[in-house]
Symmetry: C2
Subunit: 429 residues, 2 copies
Amino acid sequence: MQRLLTSDPQFERKFARLVEDRRETESDVSSVVSDILDKVRQRGDEAVAEYTARFDRHTLGADDDWRIGPEACKAAYDALEPKLRDALELAAERIRAYHVDQLPRDRDFTDDAGVRLGARWRAVDAAGLYVPGGRAAYPSSLLMNAIPAKVAGVERIVVATPTPRGESNPLVLAAAHLVGVDEVWRIGGAQAIGALAYGTKRIKPVDVITGPGNDYVAEAKRQLFGVVGIDMVAGPSEILVIADGTNDPDWIAADLLSQAEHDPSSQSILITDDAKFADQVADRVDVQCSMLATEDCARQSWEDNGVLLIVNDLSEAPALANRLAAEHVELAVDDPEALFAELRHAGSVFLGRYTPEAVGDYVAGPNHVLPTGRRARFASGLSVLDFMKRTSFISMDADALAKIGPAAVALAEMEGLPAHAKSVQLRLK
Amino acid sequence: MQRLLTSDPQFERKFARLVEDRRETESDVSSVVSDILDKVRQRGDEAVAEYTARFDRHTLGADDDWRIGPEACKAAYDALEPKLRDALELAAERIRAYHVDQLPRDRDFTDDAGVRLGARWRAVDAAGLYVPGGRAAYPSSLLMNAIPAKVAGVERIVVATPTPRGESNPLVLAAAHLVGVDEVWRIGGAQAIGALAYGTKRIKPVDVITGPGNDYVAEAKRQLFGVVGIDMVAGPSEILVIADGTNDPDWIAADLLSQAEHDPSSQSILITDDAKFADQVADRVDVQCSMLATEDCARQSWEDNGVLLIVNDLSEAPALANRLAAEHVELAVDDPEALFAELRHAGSVFLGRYTPEAVGDYVAGPNHVLPTGRRARFASGLSVLDFMKRTSFISMDADALAKIGPAAVALAEMEGLPAHAKSVQLRLK
């Protein structure tokens, strides 16, 4: 954990280094991935089965080896204890409600020149959601990826999830049932992304692929960008808590640890104007850490990447926060609005002392798939828009064309495109 | 030019091949580009100057070699003949009006559980627009890229454009003045994209890079996806005209040629239910071609990639059009609405006989940067959204947290994330 003070003459240099460090390993898997994708493209299911046998120790033979049927998903759902099922349902309902209100409006209007203009949104035909196997297989992630697709109106929602040695995660299956996923394929890695993008004999291609994954999955998505639509590249996640000294240090410590426990490369940053409070928080982090089942991970993240940043006045905080462009920003102060008004770059903001980031991970409603590694400067969280596309349209009659056509002719001629000009001129006569 | 009939027993096979062929050369420039980007990242301006000397034969020494100042842009604008200036202004005004109406609404509401939720859109701080040198340097492209950024509220708009042997395109400079571009840099290729993304001593980094370019530029953007935001990968463009036999074959021929004259790899497709009409159009394409200054390009595109597709009934057209997912679709029929209602995948649609695609390239208002190569299945034209990002927010008091917090605790425990659970539990007491 490092301690930074804006009053330190060296602060700017140290802070710049913090902003620069995205904590991402640039492992070069591009040629391996490109080879896997080529093979899947050329040999389809056969190549997918070979890679799955090698990487996941799972044999893809009979239909049941390939797919997990809807009955198995329903059984997993029915087997949930009632309290969990209720929690999952509440989460799904709230996520759905928030995303329904995100649906974009179509446009259709006629302007002064008599030109009818507009834009129409439609869902993509099919979406593929990647769900990692093992530790990072979170049912909440499935909800956060599948519900926006469903709300957008995607007719075919496909999950790809590796089942190492044949083992699947019942919680993920339960979530798939709850949301109404159409197909669940037992495949993972770059080969799964390739199969979803190109299609194989068994697996029809999809139009958009979202969801987190390891370096191979991320690189496969990057290489297939343009063959299909993909969501933003995801790196290690982070939280920035801006808190005054009147907070309960235990609450703030828990918030910082809720990020740290995700991964050793996660980052938790506290900005406060109270140096003593910062010390108290650091103490509570230490104490709480030792009570966590996720202690090793949380402690390493806090030691390697944790930051206590002491400012003279909290009014300095928004400018620093904008440079950090963090995935999650908590404003644990009496008047969060004042700080929020100054925030330009953040994935999601949690206002006030009773809004811990973890409610946003599960049940608040907004999406928890958010831009990491300073990408909130230009990227947004996952939304229904990631599963839709817009078609613009133009409609004119002879009168409208007479008004704006001549300008098009002049510009086409200027750009040296005579057929463009002619297609308008012929209609102007 | 190939002729396809849906009544041909071999039609499905032939049509599938047409859909499959995106006419994109997969030249492997990835290692060259990755090397250029590394050098620019490490050595900044020095590397940019070396590549510019080598590829553009332009020496970057004094400030004036690097940048084209606002005075030069204004001078280029003032030197336009009045008719052209008026046309450019009309185009800019109409594009602006269309894009202003595209601005997304912020959300802020409190739901039944007393949870305040919302989303706030903000512009990125800086946008970089690539404008190719030479043949494809279109002032209309500059308008179509810069105006959405301006309307989004981007405070710093930067153009990078190569000036081979020092020569710049006065029309592009005039358009830059008209839109109010903040900086024009005389750099191009992958090195320009690298300089914009990483920043150098002279050039501050940007957050989003858009605009067309050659294979090196496209590959550089792909490699930097995630370091900055980028627009969709652009391939050769295409038009699909759906027309009945009562159209003037000359009009339709001109429309097909307006796409063909862009590039030999462009594609023009006519779907009609009138085989005789198709022949007439083919004749007129031939005749008009020989009168064009762009004849060589247009003829080659038509010969290599042109398609006459004869259907028994125009009601077959939308399903075919959806598989082609063309960049531009013209509906030259009496009742374009009926066909339009069935279209799911298209970049932009032009309704009726008096709406040639070329008006959309210049003055109609919607963006002419559109998804190509079947990408309209999942991608949209350029818009203000490409220069903005959304921050979601959540605000709760103790009562609201009491209502939804316990479900978050249950889910966090289920996923094995105890610090998540604790951050909520502490506040529930």
